[in-house]
């Protein structure tokens, strides 16, 4: 409005000036003629007005341009502020949720700027740059486990690959590892190595936290529980392995064969039939060795199973010579089995782990043998006492040792 008044005053001033000039001109050039000087005066006024209007419009136009530039500057200032804000965001595990919110907020500001930039040329590229910066901030500072930069065709800078471990990234890795193992994409050796690496990364992470006392204090009880759960899950992989072991065809086959061999004492078999069973046992045990190679079964557990098969197969065929003497004492058999198994059992315990199946099948047989030795069976006792080479004290020592070992396994629960 001020501009209009200014213009009106200006036009009026010019008009008056022209009028005075025109009156003087009339007197000099056109004495006695009114109309012509008046027309010329109006013409001149209109020309001046046209010139002034053009100038004014140009001024309006340049004012508009200035407004756009100003607007752009404002956007750029906003961008600069956002940029500075992003650069100030440093890795902070405890405040990660807060940082995530902050980045979401920044993302919102950027989105608003982008929509504004549809009409403002020249801003889009800059905004894209800022967006990239935000995204890399997200990756490296917040959830990210990796940051890769400086990549050109085929070349990757070793300095650019930086792995940032977080509890969630390790959990994610562990879940994927278990999935890959179940899908048989990786074998047990890779599983073991990768698990060891995760555990080590995890320990490092905890160590890092410990160096920053406030970080540990800052963990909520939920997060602390999560940490404990994760440790337990990691240490529980062994059990999962054994679950895997039990699903192998070799393991299923040996289980089925075990049932057959266990019945040999009661089934009546010819020597040919027994030979076939022995051959089958050999074949199944060889197959089981493959699981030992794969690390699914410990060598101690294998030897224990092997020894038990050997014991179970010590039966005589029904087609033996009529004069052959058959040892029928269950106590002698039980004692022999105990003597054979105890060193293997000790070895397996020393290895730290014994799987559940071995526990169920082998340890329970030890218990049965102990029970047999304690049973009163006059016929068997006669054979037992007549043929044994050990003293009563030796036998009691074997029994005591067996009981101790079984008790230890059951107490420690390390059969899983």
């Amino acid at each position: 409005m001020e501009r209009i008044w200014y213009l009106a005053c200006l036009i009026a001033g010019i008009f008056i000036a022209l009028l005075i000039f025109g009156l003087g001109y009339r007197k000099l050039a056109y004495p006695g003629k009114n109309s012509r000087w008046f027309k010329e005066l109006w013409f001149s006024t209109m020309v001046i007005l046209a010139l002034l209007t053009t100038t004014f419009c140009n001024k309006e136009s340049s004012t508009n341009t200035a407004q756009i530039q100003q607007h752009q500057t404002q956007s750029f200032t906003e961008l600069q502020k956002i940029w500075q804000r992003i650069n100030q965001i440093k890795p902070d595990y405890v405040n990660r949720e807060k940082q995530r919110k902050e980045l979401d907020e920044i993302q919102g500001q950027i989105d608003a700027l982008i929509s504004r930039a549809q009409q403002e040329l020249g801003l889009k590229e800059t905004i894209t740059l800022v967006m990239t910066n935000i995204l890399s901030s997200r990756v490296s500072h917040i959830g990210g486990s990796f940051l890769i930069s400086g990549v050109t065709c085929y070349k990757m800078s070793s300095e650019g690959v930086k792995r940032m471990q977080t509890l969630s990234s390790l959990e994610q890795q562990y879940a994927l590892l278990a999935k890959m193992y179940q899908e048989k994409k990786i074998d047990v050796q890779v599983l073991t190595k990768a698990r060891e690496t995760i555990l080590s990364d995890y320990e490092n992470l905890i160590a890092d936290w410990n160096t920053q006392k406030s970080v540990l204090d800052g963990l909520s009880s939920d997060e602390k529980n999560k940490v404990v759960d994760f440790i337990m899950e990691l240490s529980g992989v062994e059990a999962k392995e054994h679950g895997q072991l039990e699903s192998t065809p070799e393991w299923k086959a040996i289980l089925a064969h075990w049932e057959v061999v266990s019945q040999l004492e009661w089934d009546q078999k010819t020597s040919e039939e027994l030979d076939k069973i022995h051959q089958e046992t050999e074949k199944r045990l060889n197959a089981l060795l493959r699981l030992v190679d794969k690390g699914l079964l410990s060598i101690g557990a294998f030897e224990l199973i092997q020894a038990d098969f050997k014991q179970l197969q010590q039966v005589k065929p029904i087609n033996v010579d009529c004069y052959s003497v058959i040892s029928i004492s269950t106590k002698i058999k039980g004692l022999e089995r105990l003597q054979a198994r105890l060193p293997l059992l000790e070895k397996t315990i020393a290895e730290g782990k014994i799987n559940e199946w071995t526990y169920q099948k082998v340890i329970r047989r030890l218990k049965d043998d102990l029970q047999t030795l304690d049973n009163k069976d006059e016929e068997s006792d006669k054979w037992y006492k007549g043929s044994r080479k050990l003293t009563d004290a030796d036998i009691e020592a074997v029994k005591k040792k067996a009981k101790e070992l079984i008790e230890k396994i059951e107490k420690d629960g390390n059969y899983k």
Binding site: T152, Y154, R163, L176, K185
Partner: protein
């Protein structure tokens, strides 16, 4: 970065970020997509120098280029028995060491020893999460299991490893599973390279070259994996924005040809022959006979740097994209022309542009 290093960067015109050193041409894989220059050109000089001579060559490379990083590759670098000696030599010169390997020979002991020697990064191919697919593309039975175990071995000894997925028509649909497998075994990063024609790959273009639709799907998979697993995945082989709208994929880092710049990856073969990159078979000269400066004068490298396909000349993205991989254009064109269109561009540009899906102004020019 130290002050001296910064000053060196500022004043040494010839200082290169990284040099690729092909220590041997031998390989125990026979990958269908192999880009080794000697596989493209049967007349390419063969052979390798003795240990002492190779150490001399390493000293020469580092002195001439003042490079910060030396990437040992091949062939298969672990087939060279003297590799530890060569790496020790390079380490003594103060450069960072990377190894690009096919990953079939890295036992736990080797991983431990090389990490101890100072190898900063291993780049190993992982072409699929399926044994059969990886082994078929590598033409090496059992390669998959060895690569997977190698990654685990490197991680076990606290080394850094990047798995590289070469996206071909045959395996590109399994990218997600490969990413998950890489993460499971502890890879520090993942590189996605669409199949780039070169070397042995020239003989398998139709069989291996992925379609744009496949590459788009792969890029979508990458973005989704980046969200889900919070990882960075780079896309190194140039993808022409007129074929695929790369601006859609804001999280993916796209690499373009850096030839002639400080970030170039000049390549030296086992005999000391210098090339613009590991893809091109064109030799600039021998670094043992001439200085790096003499071999990389503007006059010598300008033809490579300025080469752009006719189709791309008016494109607003030409300075960045440069028409894609010039070496791929060179080895796959009849006249070995750097200005030819590389197969990915040649095969798909017209088809794609006709559909009106090209994102750039270039599309209207082409119509």
């Amino acid at each position: 970065m130290g002050i001296i290093s910064k000053l060196k960067d500022a004043f040494l015109v010839n200082r290169q970020d990284s040099i690729i050193f092909e220590v041997t041409q031998k390989c125990n894989n026979d990958c269908l997509f192999c880009y080794n220059a000697w596989k493209a050109d049967k007349n390419y000089p063969q052979g390798e120098l003795s240990t002492a001579e190779t150490k001399g060559l390493i000293r020469r490379i580092v002195k001439e280029t003042s490079c910060k990083q030396l990437t040992f590759t091949g062939g298969e670098p672990f087939l060279r028995a003297d590799l530890p000696e060569l790496i020790t030599c390079a380490k003594e010169l103060g450069v960072a060491i990377n190894i690009i390997s096919n990953g079939t020979l890295i036992t736990e002991d080797i991983a431990r020893d090389y990490i101890k020697l100072g190898v900063g990064l291993f780049e190993l191919p992982l072409l699929s999460a399926e044994r059969t697919t990886h082994d078929a593309l590598s033409r090496n039975q059992g390669a998959f299991d060895k690569v997977v175990e190698s990654v685990a071995n490197i991680k076990l000894h606290r080394g850094r490893v990047v798995t590289v997925f070469v996206g071909t028509k045959r395996n590109i649909d399994g990218l997600k599973e490969m990413i998950e497998l890489s993460l499971a075994i502890g890879a520090d990063g993942i590189m996605f390279n669409r199949f780039n024609v070169g070397g042995e790959g020239i003989r398998h273009i139709d069989e291996l070259l992925p379609t744009p639709a496949q590459v788009i799907k792969a890029l979508e998979t990458i973005e989704s994996a980046m969200d889900q697993y919070k990882i960075g995945i780079s896309c190194s082989i140039p993808i022409q924005p007129c074929i695929i709208d790369t601006s859609r994929f804001k999280k993916v880092h796209f690499g373009y040809c850096a030839a002639g710049t400080k970030r170039a990856y000049y390549t030296v073969d086992p005999m000391g022959n210098l090339r613009m990159c590991n893809h091109t078979p064109s030799i600039l000269g021998n670094i043992l006979k001439s200085s790096f400066k003499e071999l990389t004068t503007k006059q010598k490298i300008k033809p490579f740097m300025d080469a752009v396909p006719e189709f791309c000349k008016d494109c607003q993205m030409v300075k960045t994209c440069q028409g894609g991989c010039k070496a791929a254009a060179e080895v796959s064109s009849a006249g070995c022309s750097l200005c030819a269109e590389e197969p990915f561009l040649k095969k798909y540009k017209n088809e794609w542009l006709k559909k009106g899906l090209a994102p750039l102004e270039r599309a209207s020019v082409a119509d």
